[in-house]
């Protein structure tokens, strides 16, 4: 990522404070009607109709192994629609934060001791009061091909 481009769309997921490069974010949507896809990988919540385009909605809590929220909270989750080289996807998150403009000097590499699955993160920004972890949508999609479907073979 280039030094000068440090605008992030931030969001909350449980205790996590995460950001996605604003360039990759297409839009933010309120909770949408979801179509369940049987036998999909567990992190796929379903499909949403985005003005005629069908978009896969990914449960970020599941993907990042954050304790799942209850059903009512699930219904309230917001969509961050992201463009990737593999097409458009929607990430389901608990709450949307501000778009933050962060100087590149605050960037730090990921600590090696990170307890979450770090595959999807690229770096950390040392904000004054807290840390922002940068999520890379491309990496999420890169893993999608490997994601096992939950279908059971008879």
């Amino acid at each position: 990522m280039l030094e000068h481009n440090n605008q992030f769309c931030t969001f909350h997921l449980g205790d996590l404070f995460l950001g996605i490069d604003v360039i990759q974010v297409q839009e933010i949507l309120r909770p949408q009607a979801m179509t369940n896809v049987p036998h999909a990988p567990s992190e796929v919540r379903g499909l949403i109709n985005l003005r005629g385009q069908i978009v896969t909605a990914i449960d970020l809590r599941k993907l990042l192994h954050v304790t799942p929220c209850d059903e009512a909270a699930k219904e309230e989750q917001m969509n961050i629609v992201v463009r990737t080289s593999e097409g458009t996807v929607s990430f389901l998150v608990d709450a949307i934060g501000d778009v933050l403009d962060i100087p590149g000097s605050l960037r730090a590499p990921l600590p090696n001791t990170i307890t979450y699955d770090s595959t999807y993160f690229s770096s950390v920004f040392k904000l004054e009061d807290r840390l922002l972890i940068v999520l890379e949508p491309e990496r999420v999609m890169g893993r999608a091909a490997l994601a096992p479907s939950t279908r059971r073979l008879p």
Binding site: A33, T35, N36, V37, P38, H39, A40, P41, V44, G46, L47, I48, N49, G52, Q53, I54, V55, T56, I58, E86, G87, T88, V89, M141, A144, A145, A147, S149, R151, L153, P154
Partner: protein, 805 residues
């Protein structure tokens, strides 16, 4: 300038494809002046335009080609394999130069000297003799004053000059840049050609020779110059032809427009959206009982349908477009393999959606390559099989039941089911028992199994065992199907069944517990409703597997709910259920659903990468209410659940049925010289003969007898079983069973022909030793049924493989 270049590239590519086609046709009909003129015109246009665009390498290459074409056109050289070869090479070279230009905007470093040299070599083919004759001709030209010949002579000189003056080409360009825009050039091309000729004619009346750079300027100014006084008949004919075709192409350009494929795709997408919006409005207006809204929405409905149809039509292209390159490919391949193959195409005007066309292109090419490489036998083999030396590949495209079918058939060797099975056994794909149960038709399907190729040798063409499986996946991806028919020795037919269009398809909307799913209508056969109080009686189970009796046949059932991880007991008796009867590969099965709604036109949307690996779904669509519904991939569903895995079981049952039907097989009972009784299927017996022993002749490979002007090789069962050798008796009559297979005949010598009996095929068991097809118990005795194929193979081996490949 860029636009001009682009236009030039597009047109040249197209024209070159046509050149390929024309050249191949020309090789067959060397007298086809129209085609020759077409080729000439294309090369001439490219030459002219490249000069204008300053592409000197391409210009000089096409110039040489033009000289050769000119000779062909004037009839001074007959079109031959050699000329076709170099001209095809020329087309390839030009193509590769064009793609260089396309990539970089400039000519590449490769100036294809080899091709030029080859053409020159052909041009100089007869060496000095040729030049001598040309000189002679030139003299005669001046005497006879025949313009065409004269022109040719002059052009030759021109070529010479050109060569010398290549460095001065720049001047040429300076002059030609004042020429009209490229469009005009194209339209006027034939006139140009004509003008040049007349121009040359005009020049020819003057003995003095103008340097070439002036020639162009004259060509330009000489448009209005006098026509030749009385051109000889062939030239006049040519001109007429070129004029008419010119006119028709002009008309075409007036009534048709080039449209960017991307734009078409975008339009299609928009229409898709529109269809969805219409569906919503229609649904909405059915709730609202407002006459004006109903009227408006009905109008919208009609218009949308028409628009959809129109855009779809715009995306249709004749199948011939992807077949254009086939003759050339077949020619090149068959030449390199030393085979003679003719290709016949029918229904090339049949139209297909262009996205589908792209998907079908590779499978089609693959199958044709296979036919050339493995299907059609080498000429020697064909001769031995009494087939015409020239193999035939037929490609037929036609509409049938809302689908486009493309059939590729060859009259080659056909697929060898036994070898397929053996191969499958070797590779451990199936065990012997499964293979034995497999019907021939199923065995043919083995070629779609990855990693199974029956080609004996891996050639650079095919035989690596990758391919047919890819062909099948390609076809299935677009909701198409592929079928094979093959008969040994007579050839193979592949039939590709392709849906008309992909984007918008009619589908049946069904529901399980709550969710909606769309089933493409293409795979639907019928719907059966089972009332709730009848469910228990009508849905039976066979060892746990639910089935339904549909007109006497057992229909295996799959519960959609269960498959998709829902309620495992689909037919709890609270609700009527529906059985959606779906056509699988060979067999129907029933999909049990909770509810069935309307059929609807749905727009197929692809699933994201995350969901591609789920075999149950072919895509998704948006329903009238804006909800997303998944489109079921019925084939994938059936395969995953294993309904079709059971096809071997069912095949077993089918075979039983078949046996039950043709229960009795007529067999000939005979006693061999060893005193053993054998049986032989009467269907394989051509005649029973008696020959005087004295007529038997011995040749190196065994005993033969003259029979109906042919040599009938004689074989004895003892040779098959290696229990001894047979010598003909000195005198007396010899009983011979004449067996035939695929036009070949052999004579089986026997001691006695006993009887013809009917053997129940149910009593037959597979033979345990080589040469025995089956064993049966007939009238209390065990009889071995001879494997006639083994007899033929043995004889063939003895005769050094000439009898049968």
């Amino acid at each position: 300038m860029d636009d001009i270049l682009e236009e030039f590239l597009i047109e040249s590519y197209e024209n070159l494809d046509q050149v390929d086609e024309d050249l191949i046709e020309l090789e067959k009909n060397p007298d086809d002046q129209a085609r020759l003129n077409n080729i000439f015109r294309t090369i001439h246009t490219i030459k002219g335009t490249t000069g204008f665009l300053g592409l000197s390498k391409l210009e000089s290459l096409t110039h040489v080609g033009e000289s050769l074409l000119d000779e062909l056109r004037d009839g001074r050289r007959a079109s031959s394999r050699e000329t076709t070869d170099v001209l095809l090479a020329l087309a390839d070279a030009v193509r590769s130069m064009l793609s260089d230009i396309e990539a970089t905007g400039e000519e590449g470093s490769n100036d294809h000297d080899d091709v030029r040299d080859r053409i020159r070599a052909v041009l100089d083919g007869e060496g000095e003799d040729d030049t001598a004759r040309e000189e002679e001709e030139q003299h005669r030209v001046f005497e006879d004053d025949t313009p065409t010949q004269l022109v040719h002579g002059l052009e030759e000189q021109l070529a010479e000059e050109d060569k010398r003056d290549e460095d001065e080409d720049v001047e040429d360009e300076d002059i030609t840049t004042s020429a009209p825009s490229i469009d005009e050039l194209d339209l006027q091309d034939d006139d140009d050609e004509q003008d040049e000729e007349s121009d040359d004619d005009a020049e020819s009346s003057e003995p003095s020779w103008e340097p070439p750079q002036v020639d162009h300027s004259i060509a330009a100014s000489a448009r209005s110059a006098a026509k030749p006084p009385s051109p000889p008949v062939p030239a006049a004919e040519q001109k007429k032809e070129s004029k008419t075709s010119n006119r028709s192409s002009q008309r075409l350009s007036e009534t048709s427009v080039r449209v960017d494929v991307e734009l078409l795709d975008k339009l299609m997408n928009l229409v898709g959206e529109l269809v969805l919006a219409r569906n919503r409005i229609l649904q909405f207006s059915s709730y609202m009982d407002h006459p004006e809204l109903v009227g408006a929405s009905q109008a919208l409905n009609l218009l949308t349908s028409e628009l959809q149809e129109g855009v779809m039509k715009a995306r249709m292209q004749p199948v011939g477009n992807i077949l254009k390159k086939v003759p050339r490919m077949v020619r090149d391949l068959s030449n390199s393999l030393g085979k003679k193959i003719e290709i016949e195409m029918e229904g090339t005007q049949t139209e297909l959606d262009r996205t589908l066309m792209e998907v079908v292109r590779d499978p089609l090419t693959h199958i044709i390559r296979n036919a050339v490489d493995h299907g059609i036998e080498a000429p020697e083999v064909r001769e031995a099989m009494h087939k015409s030396l020239t193999g035939m590949i037929r490609i037929r495209a036609y509409h049938e039941g809302g689908q486009v079918n493309i059939e590729i058939s060859d009259d080659g060797a056909g697929l060898d089911v036994r070898r397929l099975k053996a191969k499958a056994l070797d590779n451990g794909l199936y065990n012997a028992e499964q293979l034995q149960r497999m019907s021939d038709r199923e065995a043919l399907e083995l070629i779609f199994h990855p990693g199974l190729s029956t080609a004996r040798a891996v050639t650079n063409v095919s035989g690596r065992g990758v391919g047919m499986d890819v062909v099948k996946t390609h076809m299935e991806k677009i909701g198409g199907m592929i079928e094979i028919q093959s008969s040994r020795g007579r050839g193979t037919t592949f039939r590709l069944k392709i849906p008309l269009t992909l984007a918008i398809i009619p589908a049946l909307i069904v529901a399980t517990s709550g969710d909606l799913f769309a089933i493409p209508q293409m795979s639907l056969v019928e719907l059966v409703r089972v009332e709730r109080d009848r469910i228990e009686q009508e849905i039976e189970t066979v060892y746990g597997a639910p089935v339904y009796r549909l007109r006497g046949e057992l229909l295996p059932l799959i519960s959609l709910d269960e498959v998709l991880g829902g309620d495992p007991a689909p037919h709890n008796n609270e609700h009527d259920i529906y059985i959606v009867v779906v056509q699988g590969d060979h067999q129907q099965f029933g999909l049990v659903v909770r509810d069935v709604y309307d059929t609807e036109e749905i727009v197929v949307k692809p699933l994201g990468k995350y969901l591609k690996s789920i075999p149950y779904f072919a895509g998704a669509t948006i329903m009238g209410d804006g909800r997303v519904a998944l489109i079921l991939d019925t084939m994938g569903l059936a395969q995953e659940v294993g309904v079709l895995d059971e096809k071997h079981h069912h095949a077993g049952i089918e075979e039983h049925h078949e046996q039950a039907r043709e229960e009795r097989e007529e067999t000939l009972l005979l006693r061999s010289f060893e005193g053993t009784q054998y049986a032989c299927a009467l269907s394989q017996v051509a005649r029973l003969e008696e020959f005087p022993a004295a007529n038997i002749e011995e040749i190196g490979s065994g005993y033969v007898i003259q029979y109906r002007d042919e040599v009938l090789p004689l074989v004895c069962t003892c040779e098959v079983f290696r229990t001894g050798t047979w010598r003909p008796p000195e005198e007396g009559l010899l009983h011979v069973v004449v067996l035939s297979r695929e036009g070949q005949t052999i004579g089986l010598v026997v001691e006695q022909i006993l009887d013809i009996v009917e053997v129940s095929s149910r009593s037959m068991r597979e033979g345990k030793r080589a040469g025995i097809r089956a064993v049966s118990i007939t009238t209390g005795t065990v009889i071995e049924h001879l494997d006639v194929d083994a007899l033929f193979d043995l004889t063939a081996k003895r005769l050094g493989g000439t009898l049968h490949a």
